[in-house]
Amino acid sequence: MDFVLNFPFFSIMICMLAALSTFMLGKRAAAVVAKAAVFITLILSIVLTVYLHECGESFVYMMGHFPAPWGNEIRAGELEGIMAVFTCVISLLSLTAGSASIRNEIDESKQNLYYLITCLMEASLLALIYTNDIFTGYVFIEINTIAGCGLIMIKNSGRAIASAIRYMVVSLVGSGLFLIGTTLMYSVTGHLLMENIHESVMGLVADGSYDVTLTVITALMTVGLSIKSGLFPFHLWIPDAYSRSVAPSSSMLSGMVSKGYIFLLIKIIYRVIGFDVYKASGVFNIIFIAGIAAMIMGSVSAIRSKYLRRMTAYSSVSQIGYIFMGIGIANDAGAVAAIFHIITHGLTKSLLFLAASSFTGKKEDIKISDLKGMGHKYPLSAATFTAAALSIVGFPLFAGFVAKMLLANASFTEGWKMYAAISAIAVSTILNVVYFFRCIINLYAYGGFDGKDENNGTLDLKSDTLIVTGYERAIHAVSISALAVLNICIGVAPKLLSDIITKGLNVFD
């Protein structure tokens, strides 16, 4: 067995150990340890992905001394590898770009706990990505939920806690549904491991027994996971949670936490229930319609909102709609497009939140009309914000364009879904243009800013500006430019990424 195959296990354990050790460390050491752990994990994931891309296979890894149906297992293929790389990139860049926000907005004695929660969340996301067992999936979903709640409420204001409790209630409804789905699945098939469940499900479908129960299980798991990722009728917690937490939290929550659940859902569709059985149950159509509704309603709400971060959060709702629409198209190309959009949206949305943190300063949120002149005060943040906005709108040369094109292409073979998908993408794109261009125009408009930076790095109690040291400013600039460059790279050369996803999806079942 090649040593490389240990890397998924190493990445989970390194993040767990880092989480544990930050518990005993001070804030500075904790920051270093957390970033180092995520960085090592990133390197490991890249090496693993390259290795798997070359051999083009997937493998299972025994967690313990016992083989398949008895012990726990994790599984890795190209798709898992690229997802792991993606989560590591987002959490690493969020931590580096957000270090000023973390230092300024979180209570001093609790900053190490912030890094702890981040590491735990990274570990749980990796476990969710690699898991090959639905009950393990459930346990790590709960860690993810609790860590997400910690990321929201660590700001410790009443408003942040109120939005955290709302998030928690909605998430718990989702995990309750997922758990009872898992329980029913166990009672029908007698297994918890994905491959064995798949075998039993195939047997049950051939027998024709339990057909209603299987449909109900499918629906319960799908609804549970889509509630947790904030699909349209259940999106009400998103704007509050994203706009009231600190900038790196919003970036991680919108970029990766909700995406972990979607990835698990894709895994369940392909590896647990089976694509054909899932398609026969008709749940794809529900996902498709909910996705389209989310695309439109999210954009409409974003246009109505007057605040920058709240608007960005609503835009997340609509982008999650795109992803679910891609899954709901119900063919392989649709799933590829959905996973591609998971990655592009993660990169763009975290860039939007991180760049916006320069404009908001210490304030929770900023009115879009107050953005006037910010483009001249913070040129780099404004430029990257514009790049990310163009990417979300779907401007050619940016990653978002490729994602939208893949989504539209995937729908061509699917009859009525083609018309619905293409018109929804068109309408949603126009709405996106409306609200993002309003921001960009405001950013570069003159007025509001008188030309000099009053408190450059100095401590000014009466001001809302963040107290930023030169190092933090530099690292913020590097991180957001890295995100923007990644975005453009994917937009210019999408072939590699889409190849990896396609090949990874092919070895999925």
Partner: protein, 148 residues
């Protein structure tokens, strides 16, 4: 019909309990009642799991009289899953309760709708007077030293 109900007695009770807990979690305004609903929901799932593993006439899965025959004992897997579920439920309950305590201290009410209303009013106030900066020693009334 009665035969069938008798055959699936625990399962049906579990389903009813689950729905009761679920609707409490969704519709109750009071946060404590929401948490109770959450616990009812979890207990329903544990009941369902535990009754999936139980087989009449068999023993608990602990070696008795040296018998290593699988037909002597009930299925150990659901028991383990219930254990995991209980721990998750305890953690989540503690977290929800502590958030409730903080919200109650700040807004003096347990009604979630009222809390959200107060929160949005608070944002509006802040919105209209952007320059007001409150000065205080501590955040959110956390100063509870020197008690006793």
């Amino acid at each position: 019909m009665f035969e069938q109900i008798y055959d699936h007695f625990n399962d049906i009770i579990a389903a009813i309990l689950f729905v009761i807990g679920f609707s409490n979690l969704l519709f109750q305004k009071n946060l404590i009642k929401k948490i109770i609903g959450l616990n009812i929901m979890d207990v329903a799932i544990f009941l369902l799991l535990a009754s999936q593993g139980y087989i009449s006439g068999r023993l608990a899965p602990i070696l008795t009289d040296g018998s290593e025959n699988a037909a002597t004992y009930i299925n150990p897997i659901p028991s383990g899953l219930v254990l995991t579920g209980i721990v998750v439920s305890v953690s989540v309950t503690a977290l929800m309760l502590s958030m409730t305590i903080r919200l109650y201290r700040k807004y003096k009410t347990l009604d979630l709708d009222e809390i959200l209303m107060k929160v949005s009013e608070e944002s509006k106030v802040e919105d209209s007077s952007d320059t007001i900066v409150k000065i205080s020693d501590d955040k959110d009334g956390q100063e509870r030293e020197g008690v006793k």
